[in-house]
């Protein structure tokens, strides 16, 4: 494999950032002028939101279960096993719920968007759409951005709830803790800042998933092999950016709310 020169590599990165920024701007600006593809937006909401429900529920539930198992074991050594509910709730709502939900949805939907749009690109369907008078960014990208941002918000809430429920089930069923104690400490430990932080992250994650997935798809070249590359790239890049923005948002929220 030939290595590109540093100059060529740097130019490619800068060009990619530029193209991504232009696509994102175009997609957002398209929301504020007609035509708006409302039906397509609802179709995407159904596919992204309802379609991702099983994996989000399972991910959240088992994450809560394993978190309870692991934390209870450690907390018992300090005689603080009653804090298990607090730990599980704070971890799920502030961090694990948003991040893991984002990563699961990224794996399912960023790849789906990249492969669908990439296949359309290599078979000239995107050019055909433009030739038929339809703006492909307005038709394909904007609905996906809106749908992913909105649905990831609700999916994260569901994931958090399933995580706390799973944690409660393990706490009561396996560890012999009192259910009322678990849920009481879980509820009391959460303040507005925690919930705000946990529900701000999915907005960023949803935006990243949709824009990166569509960007990788729309710049696909090289036939079926290119579609495969775009799909992989979409998942990798969106996953890394979700984790990066998770760090940035966490830092910002700690600065605002103090925890």
């Amino acid at each position: 494999m030939r290595f590109p020169s540093p100059e060529a590599y740097a130019k490619r990165i800068v060009a990619s950032v530029q193209e991504y920024s232009l696509l994102t701007w175009h997609a957002i600006a398209a929301l504020f002028s007609p035509p708006r593809y409302v039906a397509d937006t609802f179709t995407q909401m159904d596919y992204i939101g309802f379609g991702s429900l099983p994996i989000v529920i399972l991910t959240g539930f088992f994450t809560g279960c394993v978190l309870t198992l692991q934390s209870a074991t450690s907390l018992q050594q300090f005689g603080a096993v009653n804090m298990t509910g607090r730990l599980v709730a704070l971890s799920m709502v502030k961090e694990l719920g948003p991040v893991l939900t984002g990563l699961m949805v990224s794996g399912r939907n960023a790849s789906g968007m990249a492969s669908e749009l990439g296949s359309m690109k290599v078979t000239e369907q995107i050019d055909a759409m433009r030739a038929l008078g339809t703006d492909p960014v307005r038709k394909l990208v904007s609905p996906r951005v809106v749908a992913t941002v909105v649905m990831l918000f609700f999916l994260t809430i569901i994931s958090d709830a399933c995580g706390i429920a799973g944690g409660g089930l393990v706490a009561v069923g396996l560890l012999g803790l009192k259910g009322s104690s678990f849920f009481h400490t879980a509820f009391r430990s959460l303040i507005f800042g925690d919930v705000f932080e946990g529900l701000t992250k999915p907005l960023f994650s949803g935006f990243i998933i949709a824009t990166i997935g569509c960007f990788c798809g729309l710049r696909t070249t090289g036939g079926t092999q290119g579609v495969g590359r775009s799909t992989t790239q979409a998942v990798v890049v969106s996953s890394v950016l979700i984790i990066l923005f998770d760090f940035l948002v966490t830092k910002m929220m700690i600065g605002i709310f103090g925890r």
Partner: protein
């Protein structure tokens, strides 16, 4: 479906203004220059056939004419309007008057034949009964009425190409761009497609720009006409040539021939002679 309606007006066409005009157009990609100082015009009612070796830039010319690509230098005018001065919205409105048939049909996989053919009409919010009627009319023209409910994956290559032609003509465009309409098809299916193109040319008198790799298809277009009485393509008697059919031959990014069928067949240029033989 979009939530707002626009009804593009037909451009006011001056018969003396060329429909397509390229002036010293050049474009280069990563691999190097593709077109160099290309200039030609396509007048009203003309059928311009683009010939040339593979990879010489014929499809690029087609995409430039439809504004899908932007040249590095030079000017392109379509219906008398310079494409470089059009806003994206004006460009989409202009495309309402241009039909394009892509090399691999480019049908939308997730839509059936009816929705594919009706795509532009649906975007323009044409009432549903009228949409269905016009789809049936367009499919009848390409003799594929029975495939209206099928999906592209259920169609043969030739059928997909015919659906693509129906999609291009349904809005009664003033200019049709055919990018290798017979590419990859067997000779019998290719003849069927050529017959449809001749029919469209002679019945609607639509200006068209056509790419083909098959010299025999090019000369078929030049030497045949459509007989509406018999509903079939016929050889023009006494060795006649369709006066509206002209040729453009590209080589190495430049135009090496621009003229009529007779001029092409009588050329003394050795490269051209070898190319068309």
């Amino acid at each position: 479906m979009a939530t707002t309606a626009t009804a593009p007006l037909r451009p006011a066409l001056d018969p003396n203004t060329p429909v397509v005009e390229f002036s010293r157009v050049s474009i280069a990609f990563d691999r190097g220059p593709v077109l160099r100082d290309v200039s030609f015009t396509v007048c009203h009612g003309e059928m311009r056939i683009l010939l040339g070796p593979a990879g010489v830039g014929k499809s690029v010319i087609m995409k430039l004419a439809n504004g899908l690509l932007t040249p590095d230098s030079g000017e392109i005018r379509v219906f008398g309007r310079p494409l470089s001065s059009l806003s994206p919205r004006e460009m989409y409105e202009l495309r309402a008057h241009i039909g394009m048939v892509f090399q691999e049909s480019a049908l939308f996989d997730s839509l059936n034949v009816e929705d594919n053919v009706a795509y532009r009409l649906i975007e323009e919010h044409v009432p549903e009964p009228e949409v269905h009627e016009r789809v049936v009319e367009a499919l009848r023209f390409v003799e594929l009425e029975q495939a209206i409910a099928k999906f592209p994956s259920e169609l043969s290559g030739g059928m997909r190409r015919r659906v693509s032609i129906a999609r291009a003509i349904i809005s009664r465009p003033d200019l049709i761009l055919y990018d290798s309409p017979t590419g990859g098809l067997d000779p019998i299916t290719s003849t069927t497609i050529i017959e449809l193109i001749v029919k469209q040319r002679d019945v609607s008198q639509t200006t068209s720009l056509l790419i083909t790799h098959r010299i025999q298809d090019a000369f078929t277009l030049a030497t045949h006409r459509f007989n509406s009485a018999n509903n079939e393509m016929q050889l023009i008697p006494n060795g006649g040539i369709d006066p509206g059919t002209k040729f453009l031959v590209l080589n190495d990014g430049r135009i090496v021939f621009d003229g009529t069928t007779q001029e092409l067949t009588r050329t003394t240029d050795p490269w051209l002679e070898a190319f068309i033989s």
